[in-house]
Symmetry: C2
DNA sequence: CTGAAAGCGCTAACAC
DNA sequence: GTGTTAGCGCTTTCAG
């Protein structure tokens, strides 16, 4: 009898349904503060978000987008207490006290969440990461194979686990080839194009004095900024110096010369993160690490 | 007395609240199918989405992200019937029968929605658009001022109102300078880099035979693809031919030579669209058109 | 103005 | 199985 009603255009009220079930049916995606500042590449987030979207849809969940504000306290637990989300995925999490506290609170209260591209190894959180140690190792190994010996490294901020991973991969490749690693060849930027551009002045000296003949950069944006910056010193990537970026973003293919880089499966990382939360049975628990791939182009 | 409880960590249950109020507190953002295909630029969506996010937060709404699937019927009304959203913003809407029907249904049932970067002039929907007619006019006028006379146009698909707007601006600029407009100088792509790349073969003939000396392209992605394609024919943008893109995307600054383009306030467009729905009192009704800005770089 | 009570539209538990 | 009913945690209305 209710059958008939349903067939004549009845749709259940999701609000009532969710209230009665005490499940919001939402997975929250927490985004770091991006607008205007462009600290992170839109490519990165668009891919991860799309991957999350696919998995969420497959599991009949809706996606609630949460933009973190620069100043607001990261009260992730509130999202759960108010029942706005049943689970959440944190993008761009950093290893800083406030973040650690917010995540620890989630953990303590038993709220399901998953980090993407960031690990807190001691904590045993659900995590989907890419194998940045290997990616960096291969990138540097590739530079070495191309004959470069004095390889500088422009890394990202310490607050990201990938920075530690990349440093480890960089060192491993050098050591394996018997090249001594020098602290003075290591530089730090903040992933922005500008910070790469600004690193050019620091690097150009080493290049001039023949103490740097190639640079491995932790993301494409900085690498491209660096290319532009070095050009002002008359140094041409791919000619005067070897250069390899990271992410295989659209820009890496567009820039001249085309940037060698490391491809990261962001889409798949997002998808897997969502699956870990929404279809835990089929996914491995704990930390998942996905492989990356070296892309050789014109700058090496 | 309840005061005390609230101060001691009480948070209202949003599920119950929304159910009782019969308001979801969500604004839905409908995204066209992007993943993998990259038909639209991530830049475009990231900006609009961020703008929507800002306004939504200011109005105490949450953002529900809805990825449209390529095959799924566009049943936008269902989002409202199930009370998943109180209002929605449609991105990348196209002037095709299915879309028109879905939007007409929303209108008939009185569900609030707003389109971004797409108008259906006859319908009187809420819309936030950019002034692509003027943008195109200025772009082409700029090419003319630079001495180009045989200006081709690589437009986007007809299903977007911006294509008609750009064509109108293109023609107006030509007419105003007494240049006859030739249909054979008008080409169509689908906004992808690939379609720009492929247009190179068609355009190169006209360029060789001196019947085209500049190209106005409806977005940066196609313009960059075209640059790359033309290069294979030995034609260098900015030297052998004038070129101007559209969107002022990150890539336009990264590419060599730097692409002249038209800057579109995507962030603001998103913000205004959300405001129209959530703070209707302070926003003008109907269609809002935001100005764009010509950016002169190396390709003109 | 404060306080009690009905009811939002479902789900889930229980009785038939 | 099928049918009934309590109850989810709020808002809103209405009585006091």
């Amino acid at each position: 009898m209710l059958e008939a009603a349903k067939e004549l255009g009845y749709v259940p009220n999701a609000l009532a349904q969710r209230f009665a079930r005490r499940k919001s049916g939402n997975v929250g995606v927490i985004l770091p503060f991006v607008p205007k500042v462009h600290l992170f590449s839109t490519y990165y987030f668009a891919e991860i978000l799309s991957g999350i979207g696919e998995a969420a849809k497959a599991c009949n969940y809706d996606l609630l987008l949460i933009f973190r504000e620069p100043d607001s306290p990261r009260d992730y637990a509130k999202l759960f207490r108010t029942q706005k989300v049943d689970a959440c995925i944190v993008l761009g999490a950093q290893n800083v006290v406030e973040e650690r506290a917010a995540l620890a609170e989630l953990q303590e209260e038993g709220y399901p969440f998953c980090l993407v591209n960031q690990r807190f190894d001691e904590e045993g959180y659900l995590t989907v990461d890419a194998d940045h140690e290997s990616g960096s190792y291969e990138a540097v190994q590739h530079l070495i194979a191309k004959g470069f010996k004095q390889i500088a490294f422009l890394n990202g901020p310490d607050a990201f686990s990938s920075s530690g991973d990349r440093l480890a991969g960089y060192k491993r490749a050098l050591e394996e080839s018997g090249i001594r690693h020098e602290d003075e060849r290591i530089f730090t930027g903040n992933y922005s194009r500008k910070s790469g551009y600004e690193a050019a002045s620091r690097l150009s000296e080493g290049i001039r004095s023949k103490r740097i003949d190639a640079v491995f950069v932790a993301n494409d944006r900085m690498a491209i900024g660096l290319m532009d910056g070095l050009r002002e010193y008359g140094i041409e990537a791919g000619k005067d110096i070897g250069l390899i970026g990271y992410d295989d973003s659209d820009s890496s293919r567009i820039v001249t010369p085309k940037l060698s880089t490391v491809s990261v499966p962001f889409y798949e990382m997002g998808r897997r993160a969502a699956l870990k939360l929404l279809a835990a049975e089929t996914e491995e628990p704990g930390n998942t690490i996905l492989p990356v791939q070296l892309i050789k182009r014109e700058t090496t």
